[in-house]
């Protein structure tokens, strides 16, 4: 993990903690708008970074088009997220839950792959994914009780934030080149 990746992990974790605190203490229209704006900007920055990296460096690389495709999809997500500003809060919450569930599912898959081929803490990864996914499901169950769903979602955010920050301090597993 590069220093930049560690700093980014910590910053994203801190942002998530702020989001969770906002949603718990003041779950008004502004809180949702703030979260949507930050998410949209974050996605846009990541997508544009990938696209620039493709055109400057990765287009000469075997498999480099995947980086372009990832960039375009993430940028598309950014635009879609930004367009949610005008929809009822329940849909925004559903969207956020969807992202949470998706990230949980991806984490589970990565943990399974890590168990097979990588040395390292795959159990932490797996439990993180399972808990994220379970919390997203719980949110869906209580979606008609929006305050309860919001509280569960916020707890999930806090948990993810803490794991992300802890992971940023973890040492990179190994390299081998000699």
């Amino acid at each position: 993990m590069t220093v930049f990746q560690r700093v980014r992990g910590i910053l994203i974790g801190l942002c998530m903690l702020v989001f969770a605190a906002l949603l718990i203490t003041d779950p008004g229209e502004e809180a949702y708008m703030f979260i949507i704006a930050v998410l949209s900007l974050g996605f846009a920055a990541a997508g544009i970074k990938n696209i620039i990296f493709y055109f400057t460096m990765a287009r000469h690389m075997v498999g480099g088009k995947m980086i372009l495709i990832q960039g375009v999809i993430i940028l598309d997500f950014a635009l879609f997220t930004g367009s949610l500003a005008d929809v009822p809060r329940i849909y925004i919450l559903l969207y956020l839950i969807g992202i949470h569930a998706f990230s949980g599912a991806v984490e589970i898959l990565r943990a399974m792959e890590a168990k097979r081929t990588v040395e390292g803490p795959w159990k932490l990864k797996l439990s993180h994914g399972v808990i994220n996914f379970a919390l997203a499901l719980a949110c869906l169950v209580f979606i008609r009780h929006s305050n309860t769903a919001l509280l569960i979602y916020s707890v999930g955010l806090i948990y993810s934030a803490v794991i992300r920050i802890l992971s940023s301090f973890r040492r990179t597993t190994f390299v081998m080149i000699q």
Binding site: M1, M57, V118, T172, T173, V175, I177
Partner: protein
Amino acid sequence: MQADFHYYATYCAAFLAGYSHEESLDIAYSAQFVDLCSRTLLAKIKGPSAAATTQLQLELMDARTDPVGLQDITRIWSAFHFLPKDLHAVKEKCIRRYLDKYRLICGPNGDLVVKTVELAKGKPLQSVGIAMHVLADTWAHANFAGTPSLVINNTNYVFYELLPEGDGFIEKPIKFRHKTSEPDDLENSIYTNSLYQSSENSIMNLGHGRAGHLPDYSFVRYKYLPAWNEYKELVKDNPHDYWNAFAQMIRAMRYIRGDYPTFEKDTYDTETVAPWEERIRGIIKKRQILASDDWKAFGEELSGQTIKDHVIDEYFDEYTKCAKEERDDTFLGRFIRGAIAHKGMVIEAIYESGNKIAGIAK
């Protein structure tokens, strides 16, 4: 390459080039020491950190990958383990940042190898050892760059081992895993490599980490898709390359000893090794993780002397217990001076080619 080639095979090459048993041991010790002389080691013996010829895994884990950190990594790995083949290589329609990394791709018979060998002429045996390490690695580490780079050093699932069968070869898919605790499984072609990291400058993308230890095994032949080669497959024939490395080391050392007036690219001393060709090719082709025992036995047959094993701290006391002003004349002092001189030469050559990726020589 590993201790089997850098220590024992280098001893054999030095002896065949005409050095005595003791001189060959000093050259071999120095060649192997290039893989051990980290900043941690230099701090322990109170040597100058500028002489570092390698970085430990722990050092790499904490290495910065900002521009200054990248320069530091590149100075060490490009100079001693991935000597660039062509600092003026041309590739169409790419920006300077890409080209700077592309030009650091390692390969044999480049201008810098000639400069490396020329620099060692007239210098102590430690400098000869350093030059032999660098020369040998240009064969083993070809097609990878000594700087972290996803777009140059990455590999993908197209990776096949070529196993001899009849007059040709069969292709066996190679499986990679990322577990250092388990040794490479030669029988089933399961090897350990570094993790895929999409970050361009991740340490995981330094050198041949993404191809695991395959470049370090003399017996292996493999086919793969290098990230930089425009979707063209590349066959790496290590038995052929290791043979050339051995014969070229003898040629280079005979030049250093004064047997030849010049050292030119693509010249090999096949005549000297001819009587032992079958034996040497046999060791190189033998399917094993470390060929030290075979090289050692061959070396002892050649010289009729016992080759002592490489002991990392053999010369520590001599260096640390003498007066500071006398350190330059100790074994390690001469190694340190040779390492700094070689590193400076490579950094300067990279800088003069208009490439700022390794910074400037102090």
